[in-house]
Structures are given as structure tokens and as C-alpha cells.
Symmetry: C3
Subunit: 203 residues, 3 copies
């Protein structure tokens, strides 16, 4: 639960930072933070037929994402300086979102590969919407390792279930794998030239 | 009902005018008019699990929006000259769409804040799709007062219901608030420089 | 079934070729191929309330689209040279997708005009998503004859049903009409200047 909120904050911050860079006003920054943080979950619930989407019915989620957006609007220079912390939080968020999405999909009795696709979408969907709204080609289409990490984490969940492990194991192991892949990718490319100055938190 | 059609016509005209400016052909203009007018309602029904979306099943809606698109294609210089009338119609449309969307959501037994979010989305969703299709950053993210007006109107609906007023009061009071905020905003910025020449009807 | 896979391959190739032109990496190319091939069907199922979308549950579809994306990534110069074959396959795919979409919608007891709109969306939706993700104004909004062909093919399906013909007749006649309109359009504009060098398979 706490760890899910970390992911939510990281994703909201990622969207809000991108909106600040695009020079949107306060409202635009908050809306883009909300969209990035909640978008993946909304797509998941629409695909699975859960009405209305869980994230729109959960006020702690909405409030957390909105407060994050407001905070980023006022303190974005400080937030941008915490680059490594934001990237770590984003990796944790990706892991938690992907594994939770895959678990929810499996509980709705879909085939394992469908569940993995939906779980991956939960992790990468919000960021894709963020980039489309800001007229960018979605980062996830251009940075291979982000989506590959999401897919790898998703695949762990049905394997853990198939091995008879409790749900929490799939979540923990899958999330850990996502975080490990993301950190290794960031580490190895640490000095590599990046195509765009000031890559977003979700990059 | 009549007032709902006014909103529909205003939104369809807003989408069709934007398409004319982007030099789309007749079909593109009609499709963009339809998308702008019906998009918010489709999002609402997908989120609430109403299948298939009401707006796709209502031929008077479809016909009205399509005829508006065709008319704008042929008479767009005249329509563009009616700028104040289009802006007023758009404000009425926003009010009606937002309050009707919030009412529908409440009838589907969602929490009040979820209903307000969905109602706001009905009002601003069509315009956001229009802008994304035309490769613009959605106007609603850049013009604060548009979405704030939508949210304010949405909030009136559950308050009116909580006070025990009949549904129609929420619709009328909420719509009036939206129109008032929009007109005041337009009035006060009347001489302010606008970032883009020929702001669209939904701006 | 075989003919449906031809359409799927053509649409996946269309998305993957566009991604290659936008210089996406392998993963981006595969994802865009999948999105273009499966997007229309996902929209259909979301609008009709079929959860989770059929195309996400059908591994032969997923595998075919993914393999097509990988193949295009490695052999795109050869694929691009097969321009006429790709255009023909795309026309067949459009016809099959549109008529199958309309048939599915009719089986879900929606009015005939709603079914036609949904069928048209199945045919053009994937390409529209492809173009939005690549920051293009959707081709279908700019090339009139593509969407008109889709709509004409869709209308054949309920007419055939109304005449008491078996379903397969609507599919065959509707698809044939789509292919005929597309080929005539391509033939007549064969020497006409095209606005963009190297029009995509879906253009």
C-alpha cells in the first residue's frame, strides 16, 4: 500500500515535471500529473470491464496525485534536482504498477499472456498518454529498456502463481526485477549521451 | 433537450472549424466535428460501462453533429465571423454536457467526487481529442479557466442533490455557473493578447 | 480466417513501416505494429463491452502481428519495395476488418447505423492510433477515400442481413466493395502528386 503510493507519487511527479517543461499553467500541471499517475489503471479497468475505474473511485489516490502535481508546480527546481531519487521512485512505481496490474488481470480470469500485456500497459500507459498530450512520440516507444523491464516484471507474476507461491511473492519478485533492470540500464548508460536534455522521470 | 442540441452544435462547430483551419477535406471536417461533439459522452459511457455508448445509438445526435460539420465546411467564413455567438453556444454546451454527465454518473451510483470528475471529462474530453488529432497540446491544459469552469459546474450537481433539490435544479444552476464563469473569463481577457490567432470556439 | 490474418499482417506491416520511418528501435516497431493491427478491434470491444478485448486473448493474432513487426524491422527495405502488394493487402485487411467489425456489432444487438460506425472504426482506428503516436494528423482524416471506402463496406453488411442473406455474403460483398473502391482510388491517383513521400501502407 505504502509502496503503491510511492509509485503513484513518482508517476504524478513525472507527468507534472513534463507539464512544467511544456510551460503549462497550474491546472494543466495537476491534470497531467493525475493523468500520468492514474492513466494506466484506467486503461486496465476499461479493458477488464471494471466500472467505473478503481482509481477514479479512490480519493486517497486522487488526492495524493493532485497534491504531488501542486507541489511540483511550486517546487519543480528542487524536484528536478532530486533526479536520482525520482528515477528510483519511478522504477519502484513501474514495478508495483506492472505487477499489481498483472495480478488484477489474472484475478479476472484472463489467459496469462493477456494478463502480462495488460500489466505492462498499466505500467507504461500513463506515461504514453502524458507524451501524446504533450505532442511527444511516447518515450516508451523510443527507450527500449523501459517497456522490456515492464514486460519482464509482468511475466514473473503468472510464473510465481504457477509455482504455487502466494500473490505477494509475484509482486515482490516482479517489482524487484523491474527495479533491477531499470537501475542497471540507467547505470550502464549513465554517461551515454541522451537525445533530449532533461529526460523525464519516466525515461 | 433543445439546450443539449445547442451544446452539441456548438461543440461540432468547434471541431469542424479547427479542422477547416488545419486544411482537412470535407470528410475530415465532418469526422472531427462528430468526434468533438460526441467524444466526451463516449468516454463517459466507457468509464461507466454503458454499452454501446449512448451517443452512438442516438441518430438525432449523430445527424445534428454531421450536418453541423457539413455546414461549417461550406460556410466557415460566416461561422467564424459569429465568434461571440459561437463562444456563447460553446459555454452553454460546456455547462449542459458537464451537468448532464455528472447527473448520469450519479445515477450509476458512483461517489460524488468520481461523478464530478466524469462530468468534467464529458465537457472537456471531446475538445481534448480534437486537439490531439490535430497535433495541438489540448487547449484545456493551457487555458486554466475552461476546465475550472467545468469542474465548478460539476460540483453544483451533487450539492443540489444533497440539498434534496430535483435533478433539473442541479442542471440549471450548474450550467448557469459554467456559463457565468466562461463569460466573465472571456470578458476580462477581452483585450488580452491571445497566444494563437483565431482561438477556437472551445478556447 | 486466412483472409483475416492477411489483413492483420498488412496492418501490422503498415504500423511497423511507419515506426521504422520514425526511427524507432526494435521494440517500438513491434509495439506500433501490434497497436495498428489490434487497435481497431480493441476499440470495438471496449465500445461493445466485450471484456477483455478478443484480440488480447487470441495468441495467434498477437504472435502474427508481433512476428510481422520483427520481420519489417529487419527487412523493411524489401517490404517497402513491395508497395503494390502491401497496398492490396491493406485494402483486403480494411475490408475484412470493417465487415467483421460491423457483423460483431450487429450480433450485439445495436442499431444498424451504430454497427456501421463501429465497423468503420475497427477498420480505421488502428491506423489513427498509429498516426497519433507518431505525431501525425491521422491519415484517414486527410485522405477522404480511405474512410469513405470503410463506411461503404460497413453499410453493405446490414443491407445483406436485411435481405436475408447469410452473414458470409455481407462479409464477402462488403470486403469486395472496400477493395474495389480502394483500388480504383489508387489507380486514378496513380500519377497524382502525393503530399508526402513514401505514403504508408494504410494511405
Amino acid at each position: 500500500m505504502v509502496i503503491e503510493l510511492i509509485g503513484l507519487v513518482a508517476f504524478a511527479a513525472s507527468g507534472a515535471l513534463a507539464a512544467v517543461r511544456a510551460k503549462l499553467d497550474l491546472f494543466g500541471v495537476v491534470v497531467l500529473g493525475l493523468t500520468t499517475a492514474l492513466g494506466g489503471g484506467i486503461i486496465r479497468d476499461v479493458l477488464l470491464g471494471i466500472h467505473p475505474p478503481t482509481t477514479l473511485r479512490s480519493w486517497p489516490y486522487l488526492l495524493t496525485a493532485a497534491v504531488t502535481g501542486v507541489a511540483v508546480f511550486f517546487f519543480h527546481p528542487q524536484v528536478a534536482r532530486l533526479r536520482r531519487a525520482v528515477l528510483l521512485a519511478d522504477a519502484v512505481g513501474l514495478g508495483v504498477f506492472v505487477t499489481a496490474g498483472t495480478t488484477t488481470a489474472l484475478q479476472n480470469h484472463v489467459p496469462a499472456y493477456t494478463a502480462c500485456l495488460i500489466g505492462m500497459t498499466v505500467g507504461i500507459g500513463g506515461g504514453a498518454i502524458r507524451d501524446v498530450l504533450l505532442r511527444e512520440i511516447p518515450m516508451v516507444l523510443r527507450k527500449e529498456i523501459y517497456a522490456v523491464a515492464a514486460l519482464a516484471g509482468a511475466v514473473v507474476v503468472p510464473i510465481a502463481a504457477w509455482l504455487g507461491l502466494p500473490d505477494v511473492w509475484g509482486t515482490v519478485l516482479g517489482s524487484a526485477l523491474v527495479v533491477a533492470i531499470r537501475l542497471i540500464a540507467l547505470w550502464r548508460h549513465w554517461n551515454a549521451p541522451v537525445p533530449r536534455a532533461g529526460g523525464t522521470a519516466a525515461s
